[in-house]
């Protein structure tokens, strides 16, 4: 296997993000093409400079990326659709990154988009009998993981609620978020119980939306100062014995993994980038339900198991804290258009690392990490640096 460190440096030249929300009058290709045009404008590039496109989505049907690109322009370039559940956006970015790093292409676009289905969603992560048994409810599946996590760490319902409060506070400063109104601890704790111990305001809302990023080699950057380097892009898809109820997988009692799926992706990303957790200045975490942000921080190596809630309480993960997490409000505020989520995180990291985040700008951000995971199972990690 090739050592990525020995391959060409890859930069994010431009990002494009649509306002996420609920759009009855638009289809995925409408906001998908909008994200592409925005990313091109941000990169200062024309569409004819782009040599390949990887398009992430989950529920958009056959060749959905082509539908978005039909609204941008057909130039004969290869378009490849990437369906990798909640890591579709991160996986598209990774493929674009590898293509540029390997010098197959010089300029590649990664797109993530999703118009969330309004009707039945047959998840292939669950067998038909599991669907009929009521096991495909993500809040419930995260609840099972949360029950065990709370039992092992002593994390309380109030600790969980604090994640929501932090993220919604950040989201109030993000004009592209679905929800831009802060919530109080009392509102979260008083919200409707969905699956013990998770309440409505512990769970991210769905959303329709798109995000795109133009990746290129250094010589193709129109602005050196606005180019953000991809230091690592890692993807792990399942580790034997590591349970993830949300992906229809229970852990093995006989053969527990030495390293779990998330920890393995983190190891690979740190190894490839040469950075460690101590070097990271800003994190876009995976708060599909708020406890997953907490255990995510632990598994990413930022603290020991059971410590994230205390650090959150002490303000470490606040916008003005030592390690800001989910500066754009996270999934809790942005909403979760499955295929777009991973690239939405990239847009925020790039904005912060360029010092262009306005009211929610953090201080001294030089290295940022984004993490998304979910059904498959997949865990994708991107490390970007100024």
């Amino acid at each position: 296997m090739k050592n990525l460190k020995e391959m060409r440096e890859v930069f994010v030249a431009g990002i494009g993000l649509t306002k996420w929300g609920v759009y009855e009058d638009q289809e995925c290709y409408d906001f998908g093409s909008e994200a592409i045009f925005k990313a091109l404008a941000d990169a200062g590039m024309g569409w004819t400079e782009v040599q390949a496109a990887f398009c992430g989505s989950v529920y958009q049907g056959t060749a959905s990326g082509h539908q978005a690109i039909k609204e941008v322009g057909l130039t004969g370039i290869p378009v490849v659709n990437v369906e990798n559940a909640c890591s579709s956006g991160g996986s598209s970015l990774r493929l674009a990154y590898l293509m540029v790093a390997a010098e197959i292409y010089d300029v590649v676009i990664a797109l993530g988009m999703e118009k969330m289905p309004r009707g039945p969603i047959p998840s292939t992560a669950f067998r038909p009998w599991e669907l009929a048994s009521g096991f495909n409810i993500q809040v419930g599946n995260y609840a099972l993981e949360t029950v065990e996590y709370m039992k092992e760490t002593g994390v309380t319902e109030e600790d969980l609620a604090r994640v929501t409060v932090k993220n919604r506070k950040n989201g109030a400063m993000n004009p592209n978020a679905r929800f831009q109104k802060p919530v109080s601890l009392e509102e979260v704790m008083g919200s409707r119980m969905v699956a013990e111990p998770l309440r409505l305001l512990h769970c991210c809302p769905l959303a329709d939306g798109a995000a795109a990023a133009v990746l290129c080699g250094k010589d193709k950057l129109k602005s050196l100062s606005r180019g953000i380097k991809v230091a690592a892009s890692a993807l792990t898809s399942g580790v034997y014995g590591d349970g993830m109820p949300a992906a229809g997988i229970v852990n093995s009692l006989k053969y527990p993994p030495e390293v779990g799926i998330l920890e393995l992706s983190a190891q690979q990303a740190y190894e490839a980038s040469g950075y460690g957790p101590e070097d990271i200045d800003i994190v876009q975490g995976y708060d599909t339900t708020v406890p997953s942000e907490l255990w995510g921080m632990e598994k990413l190596g930022f603290c020991n198991k059971g410590e994230a809630a205390g650090l959150l309480r002490d303000g470490k993960f606040d916008l003005d804290g030592e390690l800001p997490v989910n500066t754009d409000g996270g999934l809790m505020s942005r909403g979760h258009p499955l295929g777009a989520t991973g690239l939405g995180q990239i847009c925020e990291l790039v904005t912060q690392l360029r010092n262009e985040a306005g009211a929610r700008q953090v201080k001294k951000a030089r290295v940022g990490l984004a993490h998304a995971m979910g059904a498959g199972p997949n865990s994708s990690i991107t490390i970007l640096t100024r």
Partner: protein, 144 residues
Amino acid sequence: MGDNSHQQIPLREGFWTSGAPDSGPRLIGSRCTQCGEVYFPKKPKGWCVHCQQQTLEEILLSPRGRISAVTVVRQPPAGGFYHGPVPYAYGLVDLPDGLRLVSQITADNLEAVPVGAEAELVIRPLYQNSEGREVLTFMFTPVA
């Protein structure tokens, strides 16, 4: 359409055996003769996903286990594939055979099911299908 409610069908064939009259139902699983890993449901092709050998044999799983996590779901899962009652409880059950499985949990008071409780296998109706037949599935229930 006649009254079919007295007719019962399993959610899926081959998940459990009714057992002898005095022994009660047992779940049917697979065990690897090489590495000992245990699976439920039984893997029909016999391949072990831990050691990649076609070395699985059929076993009857222990009808008793321990509930290691449980949640009570208060809204129907999206998609319309679940036709059972809401709220319902489901969780992770550890069996002494050395495997953890996902199962619905049944109890008089769903909210009072403690984590760590001993539980036993029962076969219960989940819903009535479009032909009026009762669809049965396996569940675990805490033992007093």
